[in-house]
Amino acid sequence: MGHRLAASDALFARAAQVVPRGIYGTRGPLLVVPGSYPLFVRNGRGARFWDVDGNEYIDYMCGFGSIILGYADAEVDAASREAEASGFSFSQPTEHFVALAERLSQQIDGMAWALFTKNGSDATTYAVQVARAATGRRKVLCARDAYHGSYPWSTPGDAGLLPEDTAHIHDFVWNHLGSVQRLIEQHRGDIAAAVVTPYHHPAFDDSELSANGFLQELCRLARAEGFLIVSDDIRVGFRASLRGAHTVFDYQPDLVCLSKAIANGYPLAVCLGSEEVRRAASSVFTTGTFWMHHGPMAAAHACMDRLAASDGVAQMAARGQQLIDGLQQVATRHGQRLTITGLPAMPKVRFVADRDMFRLQAFCAAATRRGAYFHPHHNWFVTTAHSEEDVQRTVEIADAAMAETVAAGDRPFA
């Protein structure tokens, strides 16, 4: 089939000598299917990337969602280059810093100020600190299996951690108000915040929208009990709305964290907050050497301009829906059933009656070997650069991958 990964494997062997795990975290090989997925990339353009062996892929991971306009977007890259041509990493911020904070605090519904960091984890961690400072309380409620970053309070890992790191983090079950109420009863008066995503997107399960007014009721409880709502909009963000996904899913957070796609892949994250928590935000000391780097801020301006001018949100929704419809047709043709959940621009795909995910892993690996990069254990992402033809081609690839998967039987690897 011509899908060779020799150069990728050779690079991994080198990395293995000098980097823990070779590649760490979510980009590491554990969650994909080693032998089918490239581990190293050479370049990208639009909706495509090429691995170090020269294999071409239509990409549905898009830098884990950080690419929203496609790779190497000329306008965003030019904005960043232009800002950086005059130097960067100064000791003090530039005007971009103020202009972007002004723009975001006007644009993101209900927010009055912005604080920039680099990674989503920095932003969520700061938001939790602000909530604790604002309330003088310790406890933080999070949905079970939600991901809010890789710092000790939120990481799904366990090595190197102390029980104390998560002593005040408590899980509720998404869409299960009773589990929230139980925590409130247990910790009444000591809850600083609930951290929520606009909808639930766990790694190994379907994405789940808020049902029966769950998020609205959570917000009501927060107001009544005096704790804050942090919206972790890092993954969904501008794929739902340029005003913040809470405007689409209809809840009002006190703090909003954005990152990933806000600057089309340039490293930038931001924590925004309401007027009410501004003083608490000021009271928290935080900083990072690179947090005020203005290149990504210029890129963010350009990225938002492009998304607004082209109605990028609607465009991605349409492409995502085209992909979903195409995949469902492919599945039906091959006698399979798929469950596809989440926003159309961020579809989470699984096979019905495939609890152990063998078939999903086989299908995603087969599609990836043929040039449609599908991750078996993460929601996928669509960008404004995915054209109708790209999606059409993807569906053709999915058809061949599905035929291979079905031919391999019920438990392709077992």
Binding site: D9, F12, A13, A16, P20, R21, G22, I23, G28, P29, L30, L31, V33, P34, G35, L39, P156, D158, A159, A203, F204, R355, D356, M357, F358, Q361, H377, R411, F413, A414
Partner: protein, 262 residues
């Protein structure tokens, strides 16, 4: 929970059961058992118990003691059990039965063979033409140890309680050694069993998770700590397929085994 207690459970309930495979496969062990019926019981004060029963042609293992063993040995503390199995000096006290040199001799042969399979170097194993079998045994110890930790180490017990229900199968792609299964029930600790080692349990349900080593060489590298498991995964020398949440729990507990079993 102190480390000696955990270790004593690991020695008696993860290491010792592998004697059943050795008794079935190893010439010297088979010869020692041949025609002999005897039961040897080990009792640790405030710790694990174990019973080995030779029935003339094979050996069985149980955690529960039975009345009237041929020989009962008392280990006065978990620390003594750890010293006895960990290669240190420790003398167990006979608490039941006659101090019969024949049975002591049988126990010596069996534990000697066990120590050989579990600690001999690559070269020694190759010279003895039992490399694959030894790696199979070492893998079985690891998998049994995961199950034992879910009984006795609070963090592992909690991880197992939070883990999804399912069965993981550890196997070799080239079939060079037998498979071991680890079952994670809806409630309670995990349980390990051999699929086609000395003792076979029914394997009606297909595994929900498969951890497949390319070959015994890869497995030994990883089990001995010489190779990093993450790198072996990245290089497709270990393939993990199926129920990933279960895999994550197992990998997490597996990371703790080395802390107790060097």
């Amino acid at each position: 929970m102190n480390a000696d207690l955990i270790k004593s459970y690991l020695y008696l309930h993860a290491v010792l059961p592998q004697l059943t495979t050795i008794a079935a496969r190893d010439e010297q062990a088979r010869a020692a058992i041949d025609g002999r019926a005897a039961s040897i019981q080990l009792r640790t004060v405030r710790g694990p118990r174990a019973r080995l029963h030779a029935n003339g042609s094979g050996l069985s293992f149980a955690r529960e003691l039975r009345p009237l063993p041929s020989l009962g040995l008392l280990l006065p503390s978990p620390a003594v059990a750890v010293r006895m199995f960990g290669g240190g000096r420790a003398t167990p006290l006979p608490w039941w039965g006659l101090w019969r040199p024949g049975i002591i001799g049988l126990l010596r042969v069996l534990t000697g063979r066990l120590a050989f399979y579990l600690t001999a170097s690559k070269e020694e194993l190759e010279r003895a033409a039992c490399f694959d079998a030894a790696v199979g045994l070492r893998l079985a110890v690891m998998v049994y140890a995961i199950a034992v930790l879910t009984e006795h180490l609070p963090e592992a017990r909690q991880a197992a309680a939070d883990a999804p229900e399912g069965v993981a199968e550890f196997r070799f792609a080239d079939g060079s050694a037998g498979s071991v299964r680890l079952s994670c029930p809806r409630e309670g600790p995990m349980r390990a069993f051999l699929v086609d080692g000395g003792v076979t349990e029914s394997q009606a349900a297909p595994a929900n998770l498969i951890v497949e080593f390319q070959d015994t060489r890869t497995a030994l590298g990883v089990l001995s700590g010489e190779w990093d498991i993450w790198l072996a995964i990245g290089q497709a020398q270990i393939k993990i397929r199926g129920h990933f949440p279960l895999a994550q729990t197992i990998l997490r507990i597996m990371g703790r085994v080395g802390q107790f079993l060097g």
